[in-house]
């Protein structure tokens, strides 16, 4: 009985510490909650559609809900090469904007190229690496200058198998760069892999 009480107390203490630190992954020995996909069915359909694993978010900044086809999902795009772009956006005049994109490029690891800002030249879609973020078994590179739907976003990109994945968020009011990086780290920790079912 005593052992049970002690275990419960330790668990409570661990949970308390986690809450105080604001970092669910911080502290050795802390019991980590397993990330849970926010919309298992929707992301499963996407994985099945492209015949490749996709990353499903288990947390997004409020009010974004990660639901493909939901009210905040503004982009749901799959290209002929099976690469995908899933975007979520919330906007309120005077309050600001939240915009998150998730991408995957099955079967390729090279950073794609996008139309440049002036002239006809093409430039890397993700550029200016600013170090790495490591969490959830993922070693992601932070890119600060990005193109297309990721313009003015901070973007995390990483490899899994022979594929490239990316997660980005717009730096816009009410968030600053620092806030966006914090959001991205939290989203990265919450990702789960959803594999295709044949």
């Amino acid at each position: 009985m005593t052992r049970v009480v002690t275990l419960v107390s330790l668990l409570a203490l661990a949970l308390g510490l986690t809450a105080c630190s604001g970092d669910p992954g911080a502290g050795a020995g802390v019991v980590k909650a397993k990330p849970k996909c926010l919309d298992r069915a929707g992301w499963q359909r996407l994985a099945n559609r492209i015949h490749a694993p996709v990353y499903c978010p288990g947390w997004m900044p409020d009010p974004l809900d990660g639901e493909i086809g939901g009210r905040w999902n503004n982009i749901n795009s799959v290209s002929r090469d099976r690469s995908y772009l899933i975007g979520f956006i919330w906007f309120e005049r005077g309050s600001g904007e939240l915009h998150v994109n998730l991408r995957g490029y099955p079967g390729r690891t090279a950073i794609p190229r996008c139309p440049g800002d002036v002239g006809k030249n093409k430039v890397p879609c993700f550029a200016d690496p600013h170090g790495h973020v490591r969490a959830n078994g993922i070693d992601a590179t932070v890119y600060t200058v990005n193109q297309g739907a990721d313009q003015w976003h901070v973007l995390l990109a990483w490899h899994r198998g022979r594929s490239l994945y990316a997660l980005s968020q717009h730096v816009a009011a009410p968030l600053t760069y620092r806030g966006v990086v914090a959001d991205l780290k939290r989203m990265l920790r919450s990702l789960t892999v959803v594999s295709p079912r044949s």
């Binding site: 800002d117 002036v118 002239g119 430039v123 890397p124 550029a127 200016d128 600013h130 600060t144 200058v145 990005n146 313009q151 003015w152 976003h153 901070v154 730096v171 600053t176 760069y177 620092r178 990086v181």
Partner: protein, 452 residues
Amino acid sequence: MRYTRRGLLAGAAAGALAATGIYEAVDRLATSPRRADALGLPPEQHLLDLRVVHDDGIAVLVPPLHHQLVTARVRASDLVSAQHELEEALADLDARFPSTPAGLGVTVAWGLPYFERRVAAAWAKHAPFDRRAGKHALLPAIRFPSDPHDTVLEQNEVAVLLRSDSLDNVSAGAKRLFDELDVFEPTSIRKGFAGGGFEGRQSLPKRMAMTANVPGADLIPDTAELFLGFTSTQRANLGPGRIANLETLGYTDAAGGYFHGGTHMHVSHIFEDLEAWYLNFDFQQRVDTTFRPGLRARRDAQTVAQGPARVTDTNEVERDFRRRGRIGHSSSIQSTSRLERDTLGPDGTVYRKGTAIPQRADFNTLDNPFFWGPRGVDREPSAGVHFVVFNPSSDDFHRNRLAMDGVLPNGTRLPLEPGSRAQGLNSVLHTTHRQNFLVPPRQHRSFPLAEL
């Protein structure tokens, strides 16, 4: 420390002159560089001996840490008495502080409203004339193509620039000239700082921006001299010695006249959108737009060579634009800011082809847009620059600034949309205020022409 208080502060200027606000952090975050002793007072007010360091093998001038610029209107009605009072106060400061960054640099500059309202007859007779431009050497400020339509063209009568490594010295200078004298009524107080991390430490702009929590602060390179990341006080980038004097290059007729030894000063305040700069332009694009399209620079380099041998002329600026669709800030300005041929100054100094003419004294700021103004200012810190530059005339400055917008000295106007990315740097800048001033020689720094 976090400075995020938003509020509109007005009230008397007296307190603001000595107040430090966020700039107190400059003294906490930086140590004063070692400085040479003063060599005596030159006839010019605007010259200050600066230490030279080498960064990436390139000679760089180390500007004073603290800057304060106070604009004012003339309160005194008896100009001759005011002239004596002000000169006495300035002489007092000269005696107390060596005219070096370790001491105090004081530059008193006068605007057109002073000359035209207060000493109109003498001004009509002695105003230096820019022979090259066919106009007066001191002209009203203008808005440039990339300026917003609401850029304020100011009408201040006088501006006093105080520069020192010591905040106490700057405060003492401001107190002596504006508190203890009753000849001026301040119209704005502008404060800021300069200083790079040339010894490898985190630079002052980076630390100040982080302290103030301005958007994009995290993205400034750790050792950057300026918020926008590149070193701008390279020796080759700044005019040497007396080159920016009114008379040196013969642009004006000031030689031997009342204003011999004087210069022209342009002052503007510019907001800088750091997030737009660092999130929309990758390193190569920042190099392209700051220096020259296609220029090769070591990855993450901050000090990029700008010596006479690398000067870009008008044809090259046009060619770069046709090929790459953009212009560089430095390369476009160089088409007017560098000497086209060897030139002999009146004191026998030879200035070689490719030598820079403007002498810049700009400084980073967190003012929004000023530290103090009579109608109040927003105290939410905002990244920007108080741009201060000495040129031989208003027209010379205007030529440089127009070139920055693609209006080249041969009359070519490159088709650049205001604020377009092809203009690079300009697309993240927002100029709020501009004014031109005349800096008399030290001998006539106090209420010039009043004695006539």
